[in-house]
Amino acid sequence: MSDVLSVQDLVVVYSDGTKAVNGIDFAVNEGEVFGFLGPNGAGKSTTIKVLTTLLRRTSGKVSVLGMDLDKNQKEIRTQIGVEAQETVVDGDLTGRENMILQGNLHQMKGKELDDRVDELLRLVELSDVANKRAAFYSGGMKKRLDLASSLVHRPKLLFLDEPTTGLDPQSRATIWKHLSKLNKEEGISIFLTTQYLEEADKLCGRLSIIDHGQIVTSGTPSELKADIGADAIALSVEGFEGANGKSEKAKQVLEGIPGIANIMSSDDGLTVYAKNASTLVPEIVRAFDASGLKLSSISLSRPSLDDVFMKHTGHRIRAEELVKPPSRMMGRWGRGRR
């Protein structure tokens, strides 16, 4: 029994009729970091709430750490750690008090608890500010405190709902470092959700892409990328706005070039997938020149999870209001995105 999490045909319909999760299956192995990558409203938080005993499912079979979700709620709660999407710390309490409280709620106390709290504060680098009220912590510090307080009782399985959303790149990298360490050194299995391709790529051994309450594909990041079987060329055309005449014409131009099979259009341009993409770039430029359409940028990259996402859902993942990865628009000739 090496599955710490097993989900079969999970369906969640909210009381207003919203079908937030629509029949998903997946399993997480012991010691694994497993991710759900999906855009706003995909059903990530809903899934986590069900798996952490907070929300009742409509149907489906779920076992957490080998236990039945309906029969062993209390036992499950003693063995899982949960960090919700919204950071939750009590601003009136100090960092340390927040953690002690969390330990108390898990029936821990005394020296055992104090030692564990010290250890975790050190791990997330908050020892210096441990006795300061959490209200005065920065966003990144609060997130780290929240993470640390979900670990006090040494959970076997950790649920993280968008653990780095809204953080600056540096804080995000710090959290990634902590998570990798926890997974490797304490052997904690982790189920996380994210809207960041890079996060899924860096942290997850395996992941599922979820959209509109359904899993569209699953695998290791490299499997998923290899599955695309081609490099991506992203183009933007002057005056291009979604599906207008120009986009149709641009598509026709591209279709005329041998070796180009898969053409996808999105709000900011067109992406084509091809085996030996670098040799095609000059041809594409020439073809566009001849057609009278003006290319404003063209870039070439190894397939990324974004491309995987695009291929399976027909749209790009958008993490609005978040710190975005460098834009792919600005004429970056032949430079690969990671």
Binding site: T53, R56, R77, T78, E86, V88, D90, N104, L105
Partner: protein, 267 residues
């Protein structure tokens, strides 16, 4: 074996943990305590002065010969504080609900009943502390205390129970609407009408007929009368028991509603 005992233990220790958390929060935001004490203190210091000549009328018409208005009104002001701070109780539950703290509690094995019990104990504690401050100030200003310290302890008991019964209303509204503003507004709307239409500030005998009728239906009147007996007359057990009976009845209804809504949120 011993599962019942284990649950009882966790109820006790979890309630304690959550009570301590709430009290810490209360102490660290003294501004909240200050705001809720502000009104009663103004009443105690200014309002009683404004009505100081009222003592004559109290003696001739109200049946309180030789009692200063300050001494008369102290009981009313203590209970005013009791119910206006109890009416805010729901806001902390709404806070925990909207901040996600409640969910963070619920993913731990914490005893569910302890979440509510911890909250209620905190409310009772707060009302008693505030009452102690008000009574202390009244004493310094020269108000009468016929039953001394034992009487004051009974007053704390009445006020704590009274606070709990009213907390129930606030918690119910809070859990139902999940809006702190609504809870606040409710407190603002209810406080003065209920206060004026009770025996808190004026003896019922001096009110117009229709108001007397309302006042006699107002539970605050009974709590005030019991506390007033303790400050002005002595241990009048009929009044004390009457007050506790009526408060108990209200508590039964409001706590029932709170429990019902709370279970819906928790499950």
């Amino acid at each position: 074996m011993g599962e019942g005992k284990e649950i009882a233990m966790s109820l006790f220790s979890d309630t304690q943990v959550l009570f301590v958390r709430a009290v810490k929060k209360l102490i660290r935001t003294p501004i909240l305590l200050f705001f809720s004490l502000f009104q009663p203190i103004i009443f105690l210091v200014l309002f009683t002065q404004l009505f100081s000549k009222f003592g004559v009328l109290l003696a001739s018409e109200g049946g309180f010969a030789g009692v200063s208005y300050l001494s008369f009104a102290t009981a009313g002001i203590v209970l005013q504080n009791g119910f206006s701070s109890a009416l805010q109780s729901g806001t902390s539950v709404v806070d925990d609900l909207t901040s996600g703290f409640l969910e963070k509690e619920l993913v731990t094995p914490v005893n569910r009943a302890a979440i509510l019990l911890g909250r209620l104990l905190t409310d009772a504690f707060r009302v008693v502390v505030q009452s102690a401050i008000i009574l202390g100030l009244a004493f310094l200003l020269g108000a009468q205390f016929a039953t001394g310290i034992p009487g004051v302890l009974v007053i704390f008991l009445i006020v704590a129970f009274f606070g709990l019964a009213w907390s129930g209303i606030s918690l119910t509204i809070g859990l139902k609407t999940k809006s702190a503003e609504t809870v606040f507004a409710l407190g603002g709307i209810l406080t003065f009408p209920l206060l004026f239409m009770s025996s808190a500030l004026v003896p019922t005998a001096l009110m117009p007929k229709w108001m007397q009728a309302v006042s006699n239906l107002n539970p605050i009147t009974y709590a005030v009368n019991a506390v007033r007996a303790l400050t002005l007359t002595g241990f009048v057990w009929t009044k004390i028991l009457e007050a506790l009976g009526i408060i108990g009845l209200i508590a039964l209804i409001t706590m029932g509603a709170t429990l019902y809504l709370f279970r819906k949120v928790v499950s």
